[in-house]
Protein backbone atom coordinates (compact mmCIF):
# COMPACT_ATOMS: atom_id res chain seq x y z
CA UNK A 1 0.00 0.00 0.00
CA UNK A 2 1.48 3.29 -1.08
CA UNK A 3 0.17 6.74 -0.35
CA UNK A 4 -1.37 8.01 -3.63
CA UNK A 5 0.46 11.07 -5.04
CA UNK A 6 -2.73 13.13 -4.68
CA UNK A 7 -2.76 12.44 -0.92
CA UNK A 8 0.97 13.01 -0.55
CA UNK A 9 1.01 16.30 -2.48
CA UNK A 10 -0.44 18.48 0.31
CA UNK A 11 2.61 17.65 2.44
CA UNK A 12 4.63 19.71 -0.04
CA UNK A 13 2.69 22.82 1.00
CA UNK A 14 1.78 22.18 4.63
CA UNK A 15 4.03 24.30 6.88
CA UNK A 16 6.87 22.15 8.19
CA UNK A 17 6.41 23.33 11.80
CA UNK A 18 2.85 21.95 11.79
CA UNK A 19 4.03 18.52 10.64
CA UNK A 20 7.00 18.71 13.03
CA UNK A 21 4.69 19.50 15.96
CA UNK A 22 2.32 16.59 15.23
CA UNK A 23 5.08 14.06 14.53
CA UNK A 24 7.06 15.26 17.57
CA UNK A 25 4.10 14.63 19.87
CA UNK A 26 3.61 11.10 18.56
CA UNK A 27 7.35 10.39 18.80
CA UNK A 28 7.53 11.66 22.39
CA UNK A 29 4.56 9.50 23.31
CA UNK A 30 6.11 6.37 21.78
CA UNK A 31 9.47 6.97 23.48
CA UNK A 32 7.80 7.61 26.85
CA UNK A 33 5.75 4.41 26.63
CA UNK A 34 8.65 2.21 25.51
CA UNK A 35 11.70 3.06 27.65
CA UNK A 36 13.23 -0.39 27.04
CA UNK A 37 14.00 0.70 23.48
CA UNK A 38 16.98 2.77 24.60
CA UNK A 39 18.36 0.02 26.81
CA UNK A 40 18.37 -2.45 23.93
CA UNK A 41 19.90 0.14 21.58
CA UNK A 42 22.84 0.64 23.92
CA UNK A 43 25.49 2.94 22.44
CA UNK A 44 23.60 3.01 19.17
CA UNK A 45 20.95 5.17 20.85
CA UNK A 46 23.21 8.17 20.22
CA UNK A 47 23.21 7.62 16.44
CA UNK A 48 21.12 9.57 13.90
CA UNK A 49 18.63 7.44 11.96
CA UNK A 50 16.95 8.51 8.75
CA UNK A 51 13.49 7.27 7.78
CA UNK A 52 12.82 8.06 4.15
CA UNK A 53 9.29 7.22 3.00
CA UNK A 54 9.30 6.83 -0.78
CA UNK A 55 5.66 7.91 -1.06
CA UNK A 56 5.88 11.14 0.97
CA UNK A 57 7.85 14.31 0.14
CA UNK A 58 9.33 14.25 3.66
CA UNK A 59 12.28 12.76 5.54
CA UNK A 60 12.40 11.99 9.26
CA UNK A 61 15.59 12.01 11.30
CA UNK A 62 15.44 10.30 14.69
CA UNK A 63 17.96 10.70 17.51
CA UNK A 64 16.71 8.25 20.17
CA UNK A 65 19.00 9.21 23.06
CA UNK A 66 17.90 12.88 23.07
CA UNK A 67 15.05 11.88 22.18
CA UNK A 68 14.24 13.96 19.10
CA UNK A 69 12.66 13.63 15.70
CA UNK A 70 13.22 16.17 12.91
CA UNK A 71 11.02 16.50 9.84
CA UNK A 72 12.59 17.79 6.63
CA UNK A 73 11.49 18.31 3.07
CA UNK A 74 12.65 15.38 0.95
CA UNK A 75 14.54 17.75 -1.31
CA UNK A 76 16.79 18.73 1.63
CA UNK A 77 19.79 16.40 1.98
CA UNK A 78 19.91 14.65 5.37
CA UNK A 79 23.02 13.59 7.26
CA UNK A 80 22.48 10.39 9.21
CA UNK A 81 24.49 7.45 10.51
CA UNK A 82 22.06 5.00 8.98
CA UNK A 83 18.94 5.30 6.86
CA UNK A 84 16.06 3.12 5.74
CA UNK A 85 13.93 3.83 2.70
CA UNK A 86 10.57 2.37 1.64
CA UNK A 87 6.84 3.02 1.54
CA UNK A 88 5.50 4.68 4.70
CA UNK A 89 3.19 1.84 5.67
CA UNK A 90 6.15 -0.60 5.60
CA UNK A 91 8.23 1.70 7.79
CA UNK A 92 5.35 1.89 10.25
CA UNK A 93 4.79 -1.88 10.09
CA UNK A 94 8.47 -2.39 10.93
CA UNK A 95 8.13 0.05 13.81
CA UNK A 96 5.45 -2.23 15.23
CA UNK A 97 7.24 -5.48 14.33
CA UNK A 98 4.39 -6.53 12.06
CA UNK A 99 6.74 -7.52 9.25
CA UNK A 100 10.13 -9.19 9.22
CA UNK A 101 12.80 -6.70 8.13
CA UNK A 102 15.05 -9.35 6.54
CA UNK A 103 12.20 -10.58 4.35
CA UNK A 104 11.48 -7.01 3.19
CA UNK A 105 15.19 -6.61 2.42
CA UNK A 106 15.25 -9.88 0.43
CA UNK A 107 12.22 -8.73 -1.58
CA UNK A 108 13.86 -5.31 -2.17
CA UNK A 109 10.81 -3.53 -0.72
CA UNK A 110 13.16 -1.74 1.68
CA UNK A 111 16.68 -0.47 1.25
CA UNK A 112 19.18 0.39 3.95
CA UNK A 113 22.37 2.42 3.89
CA UNK A 114 25.03 3.61 6.32
CA UNK A 115 26.05 2.07 9.65
CA UNK A 116 24.50 -1.41 9.51
CA UNK A 117 25.39 -2.19 13.11
CA UNK A 118 23.30 0.79 14.23
CA UNK A 119 20.47 -0.13 11.87
CA UNK A 120 20.45 -3.74 13.08
CA UNK A 121 20.39 -2.60 16.70
CA UNK A 122 17.44 -0.32 15.96
CA UNK A 123 15.60 -3.05 14.07
CA UNK A 124 16.04 -5.51 16.94
CA UNK A 125 15.18 -2.94 19.61
CA UNK A 126 11.99 -1.91 17.81
CA UNK A 127 11.05 -5.53 17.25
CA UNK A 128 11.22 -6.25 20.97
CA UNK A 129 9.43 -3.24 22.41
CA UNK A 130 5.92 -4.07 21.19
CA UNK A 131 5.00 -0.64 19.87
CA UNK A 132 1.29 -0.51 19.10
CA UNK A 133 0.52 2.76 17.33
CA UNK A 134 -3.27 2.65 17.81
CA UNK A 135 -2.81 2.18 21.56
CA UNK A 136 0.04 4.71 21.80
CA UNK A 137 -1.91 7.33 19.89
CA UNK A 138 -5.08 6.59 21.82
CA UNK A 139 -3.21 7.13 25.08
CA UNK A 140 -2.47 10.73 24.09
CA UNK A 141 -5.99 11.55 22.98
CA UNK A 142 -7.56 11.96 26.42
CA UNK A 143 -11.29 11.23 26.42
CA UNK A 144 -11.13 10.49 22.71
CA UNK A 145 -8.57 7.74 23.29
CA UNK A 146 -10.79 4.74 22.59
CA UNK A 147 -12.10 6.42 19.44
CA UNK A 148 -8.59 7.20 18.19
CA UNK A 149 -7.37 3.69 19.01
CA UNK A 150 -10.27 2.15 17.07
CA UNK A 151 -9.84 4.50 14.09
CA UNK A 152 -6.07 4.03 13.79
CA UNK A 153 -6.46 0.31 14.41
CA UNK A 154 -8.97 0.10 11.55
CA UNK A 155 -6.59 1.87 9.15
CA UNK A 156 -3.75 -0.45 10.18
CA UNK A 157 -5.92 -3.53 9.77
CA UNK A 158 -6.94 -2.47 6.26
CA UNK A 159 -3.34 -1.74 5.25
CA UNK A 160 -2.11 -5.11 6.55
CA UNK A 161 -5.03 -6.97 4.93
CA UNK A 162 -4.26 -5.34 1.62
CA UNK A 163 -0.67 -6.55 1.77
CA UNK A 164 -1.35 -10.00 3.23
CA UNK A 165 -1.45 -11.85 -0.13
CA UNK A 166 2.13 -10.77 -0.78
CA UNK A 167 3.26 -13.18 1.93
CA UNK A 168 1.49 -16.19 0.44
Amino acid sequence: MRIPPAMAAPFDFLPLFVIQRAVGLVFAQVMARHPALLDRLGDHGAKRYGFLPTDLPLSFVVEPSIPMISVLRRSVPVTTDAAIEGPLYLLLALLEGKYDADALFFSRDLSVTGDMEAMLALRNALDDCDIDLPLDLGAMAGPFGPLVTRAVGYVREQALLEEAPAWN
Partner: protein, 325 residues
Amino acid sequence: MELICPAGTPSAFHEAVNAGADAVYCGFRDETNARNFPGLNFSRDELAQSIAYARSKEVMTFVAINTFMRAGKEALWYGAVDDAVRLGADALILADFGLMAYTAERHPQARLHVSVQASASNADAVNFLVEAFGAKRVVLPRILTIPDIAKLAKKISCEIEVFVFGGLCVMAEGRCSLSSYVTGKSPNMNGVCSPASHVHYRQDGKDLVSELGDFTINRFPAGEAAGYPTLCKGRFDVGDSSGYAFEDPASLDVMAHIDALREAGVSALKIEGRQRGKAYVAEVVSTLRKTLAAGPLERPALMSRLHLLSEGQRTTSGAYEKRWR
Protein backbone atom coordinates in the same frame (compact mmCIF):
# COMPACT_ATOMS: atom_id res chain seq x y z
CA MET B 1 9.08 -34.95 17.22
CA GLU B 2 9.66 -31.77 19.19
CA LEU B 3 9.61 -28.39 17.44
CA ILE B 4 12.56 -26.29 18.63
CA CYS B 5 12.08 -22.60 17.84
CA PRO B 6 14.35 -19.55 17.82
CA ALA B 7 14.00 -16.32 19.79
CA GLY B 8 16.35 -13.34 19.64
CA THR B 9 14.27 -11.14 21.92
CA PRO B 10 11.72 -11.67 24.71
CA SER B 11 9.00 -10.52 22.33
CA ALA B 12 9.98 -13.14 19.75
CA PHE B 13 10.15 -15.68 22.58
CA HIS B 14 6.50 -15.00 23.45
CA GLU B 15 5.54 -15.33 19.78
CA ALA B 16 7.33 -18.69 19.53
CA VAL B 17 5.59 -20.02 22.64
CA ASN B 18 2.19 -18.78 21.50
CA ALA B 19 2.67 -20.16 17.98
CA GLY B 20 3.21 -23.73 19.16
CA ALA B 21 6.87 -24.29 20.05
CA ASP B 22 7.74 -27.33 22.18
CA ALA B 23 10.97 -25.57 23.17
CA VAL B 24 12.43 -22.15 22.52
CA TYR B 25 16.18 -21.59 22.27
CA CYS B 26 17.85 -18.29 22.99
CA GLY B 27 21.09 -16.79 24.27
CA PHE B 28 22.62 -14.14 26.48
CA ARG B 29 23.46 -10.64 25.28
CA ASP B 30 27.19 -11.30 24.85
CA GLU B 31 29.81 -13.32 23.00
CA THR B 32 28.75 -16.62 24.54
CA ASN B 33 26.22 -17.37 21.86
CA ALA B 34 26.56 -17.68 18.11
CA ARG B 35 24.03 -14.94 17.37
CA ASN B 36 25.73 -12.04 19.13
CA PHE B 37 24.15 -9.30 17.02
CA PRO B 38 23.52 -5.71 18.16
CA GLY B 39 20.18 -5.23 19.89
CA LEU B 40 19.60 -8.96 20.11
CA ASN B 41 19.46 -11.50 22.94
CA PHE B 42 18.54 -11.70 26.59
CA SER B 43 19.61 -10.14 29.87
CA ARG B 44 19.49 -12.41 32.92
CA ASP B 45 16.19 -10.82 34.03
CA GLU B 46 14.68 -11.21 30.58
CA LEU B 47 15.67 -14.87 30.48
CA ALA B 48 14.16 -15.49 33.93
CA GLN B 49 10.87 -13.89 32.87
CA SER B 50 10.85 -15.77 29.58
CA ILE B 51 11.49 -19.13 31.25
CA ALA B 52 8.64 -18.43 33.66
CA TYR B 53 6.32 -17.61 30.76
CA ALA B 54 7.37 -20.74 28.86
CA ARG B 55 6.82 -22.90 31.95
CA SER B 56 3.32 -21.48 32.37
CA LYS B 57 2.58 -22.77 28.86
CA GLU B 58 4.44 -26.08 29.37
CA VAL B 59 7.13 -25.09 26.90
CA MET B 60 10.85 -25.74 27.48
CA THR B 61 13.68 -23.20 27.24
CA PHE B 62 17.09 -24.14 25.86
CA VAL B 63 19.97 -21.68 26.32
CA ALA B 64 22.61 -21.59 23.60
CA ILE B 65 26.11 -20.98 24.99
CA ASN B 66 27.67 -22.18 21.81
CA THR B 67 30.74 -20.15 20.98
CA PHE B 68 34.25 -21.30 21.86
CA MET B 69 35.89 -19.92 24.99
CA ARG B 70 38.86 -17.59 24.68
CA ALA B 71 41.90 -18.40 26.79
CA GLY B 72 41.95 -16.16 29.83
CA LYS B 73 38.29 -15.14 29.43
CA GLU B 74 36.67 -18.43 30.44
CA ALA B 75 34.77 -16.75 33.28
CA LEU B 76 32.34 -15.20 30.79
CA TRP B 77 31.33 -18.63 29.52
CA TYR B 78 31.37 -20.31 32.95
CA GLY B 79 29.17 -17.51 34.28
CA ALA B 80 26.71 -17.98 31.42
CA VAL B 81 26.40 -21.69 32.23
CA ASP B 82 26.01 -21.02 35.97
CA ASP B 83 23.33 -18.39 35.33
CA ALA B 84 21.40 -20.46 32.78
CA VAL B 85 21.25 -23.35 35.25
CA ARG B 86 20.30 -21.04 38.14
CA LEU B 87 17.52 -19.45 36.09
CA GLY B 88 16.02 -22.84 35.27
CA ALA B 89 16.99 -23.55 31.66
CA ASP B 90 15.71 -26.95 30.56
CA ALA B 91 18.86 -27.60 28.51
CA LEU B 92 22.16 -25.97 27.66
CA ILE B 93 23.31 -26.03 24.05
CA LEU B 94 27.12 -26.17 24.14
CA ALA B 95 29.90 -26.40 21.57
CA ASP B 96 33.17 -26.08 23.50
CA PHE B 97 34.45 -29.34 25.03
CA GLY B 98 36.02 -27.42 27.91
CA LEU B 99 32.68 -25.81 28.70
CA MET B 100 30.96 -29.19 28.45
CA ALA B 101 33.48 -30.54 30.96
CA TYR B 102 32.83 -27.59 33.29
CA THR B 103 29.08 -28.09 33.01
CA ALA B 104 29.24 -31.84 33.58
CA GLU B 105 31.43 -31.32 36.66
CA ARG B 106 29.67 -28.33 38.26
CA HIS B 107 26.11 -28.98 37.15
CA PRO B 108 25.74 -32.73 36.61
CA GLN B 109 21.96 -32.40 36.78
CA ALA B 110 21.86 -29.99 33.81
CA ARG B 111 20.72 -31.40 30.50
CA LEU B 112 23.47 -30.95 27.94
CA HIS B 113 22.79 -30.68 24.22
CA VAL B 114 25.65 -30.69 21.72
CA SER B 115 25.42 -27.58 19.55
CA VAL B 116 25.63 -27.80 15.79
CA GLN B 117 28.73 -25.64 16.26
CA ALA B 118 30.52 -28.65 17.80
CA SER B 119 30.46 -30.33 14.39
CA ALA B 120 29.79 -33.78 15.87
CA SER B 121 28.81 -35.65 12.74
CA ASN B 122 29.92 -39.25 13.22
CA ALA B 123 29.25 -41.96 15.79
CA ASP B 124 32.69 -41.78 17.41
CA ALA B 125 32.44 -38.03 17.98
CA VAL B 126 28.88 -38.16 19.33
CA ASN B 127 29.48 -41.15 21.58
CA PHE B 128 32.60 -39.51 23.00
CA LEU B 129 30.53 -36.48 24.03
CA VAL B 130 27.83 -38.71 25.51
CA GLU B 131 30.34 -40.76 27.50
CA ALA B 132 32.63 -37.91 28.55
CA PHE B 133 30.09 -35.21 29.38
CA GLY B 134 26.72 -36.96 29.56
CA ALA B 135 25.29 -35.24 26.48
CA LYS B 136 21.64 -36.10 26.05
CA ARG B 137 21.13 -34.76 22.53
CA VAL B 138 23.19 -33.82 19.50
CA VAL B 139 22.22 -31.14 16.99
CA LEU B 140 23.63 -32.53 13.76
CA PRO B 141 25.56 -30.37 11.29
CA ARG B 142 23.78 -29.84 8.01
CA ILE B 143 26.18 -32.08 6.08
CA LEU B 144 24.39 -35.42 6.33
CA THR B 145 21.82 -37.05 4.07
CA ILE B 146 18.74 -38.59 5.65
CA PRO B 147 20.14 -42.14 5.11
CA ASP B 148 23.37 -40.92 6.80
CA ILE B 149 21.29 -39.75 9.79
CA ALA B 150 19.44 -43.08 9.95
CA LYS B 151 22.76 -44.99 10.02
CA LEU B 152 24.16 -42.66 12.68
CA ALA B 153 21.05 -42.98 14.87
CA LYS B 154 21.60 -46.74 15.16
CA LYS B 155 25.14 -46.22 16.47
CA ILE B 156 24.71 -43.46 19.05
CA SER B 157 23.12 -43.36 22.47
CA CYS B 158 21.55 -39.91 22.55
CA GLU B 159 18.70 -38.03 20.92
CA ILE B 160 19.10 -36.39 17.51
CA GLU B 161 17.96 -32.87 16.63
CA VAL B 162 18.21 -31.56 13.07
CA PHE B 163 17.65 -28.21 11.40
CA VAL B 164 14.61 -28.31 9.11
CA PHE B 165 14.00 -24.66 8.22
CA GLY B 166 15.81 -21.33 8.03
CA GLY B 167 19.17 -19.88 7.11
CA LEU B 168 21.63 -22.34 5.67
CA CYS B 169 25.35 -22.18 6.40
CA VAL B 170 28.18 -23.32 4.19
CA MET B 171 27.81 -26.69 5.93
CA ALA B 172 30.97 -26.54 8.04
CA GLU B 173 29.45 -25.32 11.28
CA GLY B 174 31.96 -24.53 13.96
CA ARG B 175 34.82 -24.74 11.47
CA CYS B 176 33.97 -22.02 8.97
CA SER B 177 36.60 -19.27 8.76
CA LEU B 178 35.18 -17.26 5.87
CA SER B 179 33.82 -14.45 8.07
CA SER B 180 37.00 -14.43 10.13
CA TYR B 181 39.12 -14.22 6.97
CA VAL B 182 37.40 -11.02 5.86
CA THR B 183 36.47 -9.31 9.12
CA GLY B 184 38.56 -10.89 11.87
CA LYS B 185 35.35 -11.99 13.59
CA SER B 186 33.58 -15.33 13.33
CA PRO B 187 30.43 -17.00 14.63
CA ASN B 188 32.64 -19.58 16.35
CA MET B 189 34.63 -17.20 18.53
CA ASN B 190 32.65 -13.93 18.58
CA GLY B 191 29.13 -15.07 17.80
CA VAL B 192 28.90 -13.03 14.62
CA CYS B 193 29.07 -14.16 11.03
CA SER B 194 29.74 -11.25 8.65
CA PRO B 195 29.28 -8.69 11.45
CA ALA B 196 27.07 -5.73 10.63
CA SER B 197 29.93 -3.38 11.51
CA HIS B 198 31.69 -4.58 8.33
CA VAL B 199 28.64 -4.60 6.03
CA HIS B 200 27.83 -1.83 3.56
CA TYR B 201 25.07 -1.52 1.02
CA ARG B 202 25.02 0.94 -1.82
CA GLN B 203 22.90 1.59 -4.86
CA ASP B 204 24.82 1.60 -8.14
CA GLY B 205 22.26 2.73 -10.66
CA LYS B 206 19.45 0.22 -10.21
CA ASP B 207 21.76 -2.42 -8.78
CA LEU B 208 22.02 -3.12 -5.07
CA VAL B 209 25.67 -3.75 -4.19
CA SER B 210 26.56 -5.49 -0.92
CA GLU B 211 30.05 -5.27 0.53
CA LEU B 212 31.73 -7.03 3.44
CA GLY B 213 34.92 -5.33 4.57
CA ASP B 214 36.94 -4.63 1.46
CA PHE B 215 35.14 -7.23 -0.65
CA THR B 216 32.19 -6.79 -2.95
CA ILE B 217 29.97 -9.73 -2.09
CA ASN B 218 27.14 -9.39 -4.55
CA ARG B 219 25.39 -7.16 -7.04
CA PHE B 220 21.64 -7.63 -7.34
CA PRO B 221 19.99 -6.18 -10.47
CA ALA B 222 16.61 -4.46 -10.02
CA GLY B 223 13.89 -6.99 -9.29
CA GLU B 224 16.20 -9.82 -8.18
CA ALA B 225 15.67 -11.07 -4.64
CA ALA B 226 18.58 -10.21 -2.35
CA GLY B 227 20.51 -12.38 0.12
CA TYR B 228 22.66 -11.93 3.19
CA PRO B 229 26.09 -10.28 2.74
CA THR B 230 28.05 -13.38 3.72
CA LEU B 231 31.10 -14.56 1.83
CA CYS B 232 29.60 -18.03 1.38
CA LYS B 233 26.62 -16.53 -0.47
CA GLY B 234 28.75 -14.20 -2.59
CA ARG B 235 28.64 -14.06 -6.38
CA PHE B 236 32.17 -14.08 -7.74
CA ASP B 237 34.09 -14.14 -10.98
CA VAL B 238 35.93 -17.45 -11.13
CA GLY B 239 37.94 -18.06 -14.27
CA ASP B 240 35.70 -17.29 -17.20
CA SER B 241 32.45 -17.69 -15.33
CA SER B 242 30.56 -15.61 -12.82
CA GLY B 243 28.23 -17.02 -10.20
CA TYR B 244 27.79 -18.38 -6.71
CA ALA B 245 31.10 -20.08 -6.00
CA PHE B 246 30.11 -21.63 -2.65
CA GLU B 247 26.32 -21.73 -2.48
CA ASP B 248 23.27 -19.85 -3.69
CA PRO B 249 21.37 -17.49 -1.40
CA ALA B 250 18.61 -19.83 -0.30
CA SER B 251 17.13 -21.05 2.97
CA LEU B 252 16.81 -24.61 4.18
CA ASP B 253 13.43 -26.36 4.01
CA VAL B 254 13.22 -30.11 4.57
CA MET B 255 9.67 -30.22 5.86
CA ALA B 256 8.77 -32.39 2.86
CA HIS B 257 10.93 -35.10 4.46
CA ILE B 258 9.65 -35.10 8.03
CA ASP B 259 8.32 -38.66 7.79
CA ALA B 260 11.71 -39.87 6.62
CA LEU B 261 13.42 -37.92 9.41
CA ARG B 262 11.10 -39.48 11.99
CA GLU B 263 11.83 -42.95 10.62
CA ALA B 264 15.55 -42.15 10.69
CA GLY B 265 15.30 -41.66 14.45
CA VAL B 266 15.20 -37.88 14.73
CA SER B 267 13.68 -36.61 18.01
CA ALA B 268 13.53 -32.88 17.39
CA LEU B 269 13.19 -30.46 14.48
CA LYS B 270 14.95 -27.14 14.77
CA ILE B 271 14.12 -23.81 13.15
CA GLU B 272 17.03 -21.45 12.50
CA GLY B 273 16.46 -17.70 12.92
CA ARG B 274 17.29 -16.05 16.24
CA GLN B 275 18.33 -12.98 14.26
CA ARG B 276 14.94 -12.70 12.57
CA GLY B 277 12.02 -10.56 13.71
CA LYS B 278 9.06 -11.69 15.79
CA ALA B 279 6.80 -11.61 12.73
CA TYR B 280 9.04 -14.21 11.09
CA VAL B 281 9.13 -16.35 14.22
CA ALA B 282 5.34 -16.30 14.60
CA GLU B 283 4.73 -17.12 10.94
CA VAL B 284 7.34 -19.88 10.64
CA VAL B 285 6.55 -21.59 13.95
CA SER B 286 2.79 -21.61 13.36
CA THR B 287 3.24 -22.85 9.79
CA LEU B 288 5.60 -25.64 10.82
CA ARG B 289 3.27 -26.64 13.63
CA LYS B 290 0.39 -26.93 11.14
CA THR B 291 2.63 -28.79 8.69
CA LEU B 292 3.62 -31.33 11.34
CA ALA B 293 -0.05 -32.04 11.96
CA ALA B 294 -0.92 -32.23 8.26
CA GLY B 295 -0.77 -35.16 5.88
CA PRO B 296 2.01 -35.43 3.27
CA LEU B 297 -0.19 -34.09 0.47
CA GLU B 298 -1.17 -30.95 2.35
CA ARG B 299 2.35 -30.03 3.44
CA PRO B 300 3.73 -28.39 0.27
CA ALA B 301 0.86 -25.89 0.11
CA LEU B 302 1.33 -24.97 3.78
CA MET B 303 5.09 -24.55 3.42
CA SER B 304 4.82 -22.48 0.24
CA ARG B 305 3.66 -19.62 2.50
CA LEU B 306 7.21 -19.31 3.73
CA HIS B 307 9.12 -18.94 0.45
CA LEU B 308 8.92 -15.16 0.48
CA LEU B 309 10.33 -15.04 3.99
CA SER B 310 13.38 -17.02 2.90
CA GLU B 311 16.78 -15.75 1.86
CA GLY B 312 16.77 -15.04 -1.86
CA GLN B 313 13.07 -16.02 -1.66
CA ARG B 314 14.13 -19.59 -2.39
CA THR B 315 14.51 -22.76 -0.38
CA THR B 316 16.60 -25.91 -0.73
CA SER B 317 16.83 -29.28 0.96
CA GLY B 318 20.62 -28.85 1.03
CA ALA B 319 22.72 -31.84 2.00
CA TYR B 320 19.72 -33.77 3.35
CA GLU B 321 18.99 -34.65 -0.27
CA LYS B 322 22.52 -34.59 -1.66
CA ARG B 323 21.93 -34.79 -5.39
CA TRP B 324 25.44 -33.70 -6.34
CA ARG B 325 27.13 -36.85 -5.05
